[in-house]
Structures are given as structure tokens and as C-alpha cells.
Symmetry: C2
Subunit: 246 residues, 2 copies
Amino acid sequence: MGMGETVTSPGTLYGVGVGPGDPDLLTLKAVKVIAQAPVIAYPAAEGADSLARAIAAPHIPAGRTEIAVVTPMVPGRFPANDLYDSYATEIAGHLAAGRDVAILCEGDPFLYGSFMYLFLRLAEDFPTEVVPGVSSLAACAAVAGAPLVSRNQVLTVIPGPLDAAELETRLAGSEAAAIMKVGRHLPKVRAVIAKLGRLDRAQYVEHATMANQKVLPLAKAPDTAPYFSMILVRSPEEVEVLEDRS
Amino acid sequence: MGMGETVTSPGTLYGVGVGPGDPDLLTLKAVKVIAQAPVIAYPAAEGADSLARAIAAPHIPAGRTEIAVVTPMVPGRFPANDLYDSYATEIAGHLAAGRDVAILCEGDPFLYGSFMYLFLRLAEDFPTEVVPGVSSLAACAAVAGAPLVSRNQVLTVIPGPLDAAELETRLAGSEAAAIMKVGRHLPKVRAVIAKLGRLDRAQYVEHATMANQKVLPLAKAPDTAPYFSMILVRSPEEVEVLEDRS
């Protein structure tokens, strides 16, 4: 290196789980990382506020550089690669200049999080740390008031967008199950659960731990559900234990 | 009621997830609940310290009533009912007297937690709230440095104590999988994964987020694993994406 050049240590990329919705369900570590990161990024659907930012809002100091990673919401399609390439380039610029970047993620970053799209583009080139968060799965079980799984039961986590035949195969082979990302797929998912004769052990949860939280038997759930909704199907064994106590 | 009688509102039973090990992975809510509960209970294996208490230790004020729920560790057997009956009676006494009781749980209370044994005995009779926590599942994925599941992949969570034939059936029908409570079952689980030709996509994680954390390819894991260990098997699709970036 010539005279006058300086070496800048790169910043660290943090994937920060902010939990399911209640701002008190952030971890102490998430709060610390957010407090010190000069750059805060978060996903936002086009034309909507960022839920991840709203959850973490009480902990974001004023005056930070903020990057909203805005993606179009096209049902049934994952966002285009070139969109993430462009955001990754912007974030890489901050990291290369030595600034830490905290990417806020709803729930946990590595359980169906859109964080993976930026992680895959940046983790090879910059120090990266993932701060795990309380998942929507744990939150839904907590507010529904019954264990997800216990003892030696198997739990299957199934995305609601799968087609009806695939859903039926997956559910038929499962014991306890959680169906995530239910949203507009609710009627399809409910029909499959009814066909398998499991409607009586299925609960519907939307916006778990948020002010507008709803917990209902699946049979009584509305036909139109928000994206942040989930269906829990207990194992027959668990239902037996829960009923025995009353 | 006659003169001189007073009515005491019962205390609240809290099931508090304290996360996977790093005390900074407690949620703000867990810290608040622990700070105000006059009675703190936690599981402890006979002859060993309580891991849940150790994780929460920096947040437990001095002078609280503490109840160690001590259970014998008999491989392959779940603790006897009368043991939990006796602890439930002790805890019910505090709740009836108007004292909140916080039961600390490793990870998340409703994902294979022993909390369920006390929950089933007390939740009918006393106000109960579950504070979800960061699960060992989320923690292992975070320290292993790759998504558990993304897009529309299915995740199967399988207890290691299942017998080899059952493990094989469950794994054969799965895409991404997490095998929990591995411990002394490691050689059996590894043999099944090898038989299915998935050794190259399996990682072994022990004591995630703790000082003695280990992350290894499953092929290189030791034969004797601690109870708090897990095996992550990626979906073939995820492995392809992860390899594409290098």
C-alpha cells in the first residue's frame, strides 16, 4: 500500500430476529445490536409499512440510516433476483465502508425469512452473525395455550401455499403440524384438514402477540386470513392429554 | 362471606422461555416477568445444576423463593406423574396465596418442554401465561449459518429417541429435518441418515449459543453427544442454493 492509504475493517452483517409482534419479545441481544448498528434495513411489501420495523420501532434510535427493502407482493411468486442484487449492492457499500448493518426480520431469520435472499448474496464476503428470534410458531402455540409437541412426538411445519394434493400428502403423514403463511390459502388448507378428519384438533391463530390477535377453532375461522396467520393441528395423543385434565 | 374474611386474587402462573443458552437471548418480556415474580421455579436433573436457572441467572433478583423441580434422569422414561403432582401442589399453594410463579424453561416452553407437565396440572385452576422463547431449533440454525427452511419447503422436527425404523420412515418422508434431543442416540441417528444417503447435508450442533458451542459436519461428530445437541438435515434444494453462491 502506498502512503496515505488506510485499511478499513469491514462492518458486520447482522440478521436480527425481532420476534412475532410484541416489541417486548425482542431479545436483549437484538436490542443491543440495533442500538449500535449505524445502518438498519428491513423488508417492506410495496405500498405497505414494514412490520419488522414496526415491531422494533421502540428500540431504533433516531438518526440511523434506514433501508427499506421493498418487494412487490405478487401472489405465488418469490421476488426477482435482480431486485435483491440491487439491495445487496447497497448494503455491501455500507459494510465495505466499515459500517455494521442490521437487517430486521419478523420472527426468526432462518425460518422462512426473506433474510436468506440477502444472506446468500453477502455472507461470503462480509462477517455475518444471525441473532435468532422468537418464531411465530412458538408465539402461536403460546397464545393458543397448548404445547406444539411434547415427549417423542414429531412436528411437521408446512407452508400453506403448497397445492392441495401436496398438502394432503404432507398432513396425512404427519402427527402434530403447523401450517404457516396461511393467508389466502385458508379455504384450501381447511378443506384438506376436514377431508383428513382433523378439523376438531385444528386451531387458527392470526397476529399472535399483537393487539389484533385472534385465536379460533379452525372450523370457525374466517375465509379470508391475513398473511401472518397460522393453523396448528395437534397430535391425537396431545389432544387426549389436554382433554383428560378437564 | 362473614366479616373478617378477605379475598385473595390468585397469582399468575408464567411459563417463561429463557432461550437456548446465551443469557442475552432472553426476551425483554422474560426479563420483566422474572423481575416481578416472587417465586421462581425451574427444572433440574437429579444431581445436576439447572440449565434454565443458569441461563436466566443474571436476571434473577436475590431473595426470591426458588423451587428446583428435580427429576431423575432415567434414559427412555418420562418422569413419574406423582412427582409432578407433588410439585404442582407446592406451586398451587403459592398461586392460591396470590403470588405469581415464573417457571423457567430452556428454549421455548411449548416445544418439547417439561413445562407441559406442570401446565397440564395448573392451567385449569389459575391464570396462566406462556412467554415464548427463542428455541434451540432457531439457535442451531443461526450458529450453523444456514436457513432451516425457506420458500415453500417442509420442515420435519423429529425426536432422536424414536427407534431406528421409525426414524427412517420419518426422515425418508421429509425434506428438511431437525433431529432434537440427540444425546446418546447419535450413533443410531447417524446410521439412519447415512443409510438414506443424506450424510453430506447433515450438520451436528451442540450447546448452541453457549461458550462450549460446537458445529460440525455430522460425519465428523463425536459418538457421544450431550442431551443438548441437534442434527440439522438441509433439503436438497437448499443445499443447491447454498453451493451456488460459492
